[in-house]
Symmetry: none
Subunit: 401 residues, 2 copies
């Protein structure tokens, strides 16, 4: 775990290189007809061959039985205890659309909603108005000015937006305005601690002005705000591990999570193939790379077993391009399982493999949940994979005399 | 873990007997040519037979990915959290040459070094002068007297010595004098906390007098001091577990680690065979024995795969002599892995087996990393093996009503 001070003297800077490939939603569950999981069904000769000469195991993202979101799932892989370092919903929503969050900024998830002329909530999602209609409304809200704070409103999708407050002395400790039911008024914002009074006043003023700015609208004539969050203050991954870490991710959310760990984010294209190209081009400049593969999670969330199998086969074709870089350590990990039969993130332990010069003799038969359970690493907390990577790369020396 | 107060009422004194055999550096890694580890290569029929009727598993000394030194490796097996109880380098160096450390004593690792006539470091190891030359210099340093403190200097090997300070109100929180590079002067000692001022003054005075005492020497004409350490204050193993524990170890380091846990150290000979004889002779007088086997680690550290295999085969021949004592619990454990292909301590989980009347039905095929991974115990923190031992010996009763 990254904040174990006892280990800080054990980290050493070396020239060795580590690649962490995170396959989003990697783990799965057996299909009831075939009794084979997505990984067991997919034809993935390159991943299987790699597993035969890798230290393999299963990672537990948070705790057995706890399905994580993308935030805790990734923080754990980077070594941060996901029960200690928490990224609030507003902050994660902002990261997901590439909105910059600086320390101290406060972000909230916003919904456009519909109220009647007495202010009673009729529709908490404003009839799910499309982005074409909501984006101009965001523009209007973005123009609201309140003394002593910078207010910015960013469209997300359909009825959703992000509100970002920037300025001195702001606090995330304010209450939400969304009553979660219709037939009542939106709630006023209240401070949840003494130091949040000013933020609370600012947000109430914002809501008042937003209501005025939107009153002529038919559907999106009011806003609801929730998930108030500041970025957690994480020990920088590069400082602690003595690395110069970089992230290559096509999706904004994962670039955002990398910035939370204070990695350098390298601009890249829209596909994993683009990411691999980016990795090749920048390989000399860093000693740790986090590279992210999204499609497996998306197919799993859709509940499409065959599609998830296909995403794994697509990934497999690009594994040789990662291996040809010949990194000292190449890890394949997942932030969580997304079993297609659940169509959701799950709590199941996630297959993991670590390939290095030292692991040639420790392989298993293939890369799957069942095979990895037989691997030499066993079942470990996801927060420990960076320790394994650093050790295998000669960057973590003996603890204690 | 030994300091879990919730369990203290569960420990009971009984007549049953426990033997913990620690095979130093027990675990290994597959040889790349044969894909077999040292344990898998060795002919060890007695250990294999024992594994077939033992509860087997793998122990993690500190955390996955963290390779421990001898100190944390052994403390963990005795039940002490190695991230909480830390033995500093100076203290371990002292224990390694049988120098007594009492609570409050401060020890440092010393080097003789060479400085030029302006005091600039020319050689941090004084040309690695041999013990024959350095021992008389230690004698000279040992004669230095400073008011209010007892100073003792003990030769270790070649250019290395141990400085021990004994007296009231000493502190380990002082800075090191070794600048780690040549071409500069040795550093003065500074207090790192308010209560270390006096210790700091004492050490600076010692260094001044040492310089004078050594100034006519050609190579060892100055000293460097580092690794300041006091013994950690551990809950005594015997008190907590309600045991009368004894240690049998040919090497001073491991006798020292046993004294840290407040075990009684029984004098023995130079070989493991001597240790087994000592165990037999003293078997009636204690209910817990820690017996230490060193050669496996030494061969592993040398990177000599075949030699490590041989040490395991040698050990195997003496296993019947341990079993014939018919202890209620006999454990075979390792403080860490020392894979010959790494020629170093490593982070890999270490094979473990516990034999008792209750385990006759829970064996595996042999005693190796792979076999133990299939064992009934699974993978556990090394800090938990004492709980298993006490339970199997009827010395740890039900927790909670």
């Amino acid at each position: 775990m990254i904040d174990l001070e006892q280990l800080h003297d054990c980290y050493v800077k070396t020239d060795s290189k580590i690649i962490l490939l995170v396959v989003d939603g990697l783990g799965g569950l057996a299909h009831p007809n075939t009794r084979k999981s997505e990984l067991e069904t997919a034809r993935i000769p390159n991943l299987d061959a790699m597993a035969s000469e890798s230290a393999c195991g299963l990672t537990t993202p948070v705790l057995p039985g706890v399905a994580p979101g993308s935030g805790p799932g990734h923080l754990a892989l980077f070594g941060y205890d996901p029960l200690k370092y928490i990224i609030g919903r507003g902050a994660l929503e902002a990261l997901g659309i590439d909105v910059e969050l600086k320390p101290g900024d406060v972000a909230a998830r916003g919904n456009f909603c519909t109220v009647d002329d007495r202010g009673t909530l009729v529709d908490r999602r404003a009839g799910r108005i499309p982005t074409e209609l909501s984006a101009p409304l965001c523009q209007r809200l973005d123009e609201i000015q309140i003394n002593g704070v910078q207010l910015d409103v960013f469209p997300v999708q359909d009825y959703r937006f992000v509100l970002r407050l920037r300025g001195e002395g702001l606090s995330e400790e304010v209450s939400e305005t969304d009553p979660q039911i219709t037939g009542v008024e939106a709630l006023p914002v209240n401070p949840l601690s003494n130091r949040a009074t000013r933020t609370s006043d600012i947000v109430n003023e914002f809501v008042k002005q937003a209501k005025e700015a939107l009153m002529e609208e038919e559907r999106g004539n009011m806003v609801l705000l929730r998930g108030w969050a500041q970025l957690p203050d994480l020990p920088p991954m590069g400082d602690v591990y003595k690395l110069n870490p970089a992230a290559v991710a096509a999706y904004p959310m994962y670039r955002g999570l990398a910035t939370v760990a204070k990695m350098e984010v390298i601009p890249t294209g829209k596909t994993f193939s683009d990411e691999v190209d980016t990795l090749h081009k920048n390989y000399r400049d860093h000693d740790f790379f986090f590279i992210h593969y999204k499609p497996a999670d998306a197919a799993g969330e859709d509940g499409d077993f065959d599609a998830k199998v296909k995403t794994l086969e697509d990934l497999d074709l690009l594994i040789p391009r990662l291996r040809e870089l010949n990194p000292d350590v190449l890890m394949v990990a997942g932030d969580h399982a997304t079993p297609a039969i659940m169509a959701a993130h799950s709590w199941h332990p996630v297959p993991f493999m670590l390939n290095s010069a030292l692991t040639k003799g420790e392989g298993v038969n293939g890369f799957s949940e069942r095979d990895c359970a037989m691997g030499s690493i066993g079942r470990i907390p996801a927060t420990n994979i960076m320790l394994l990577a650093l050790s295998h790369a000669g960057k973590l020396t003996k603890y204690g005399p």
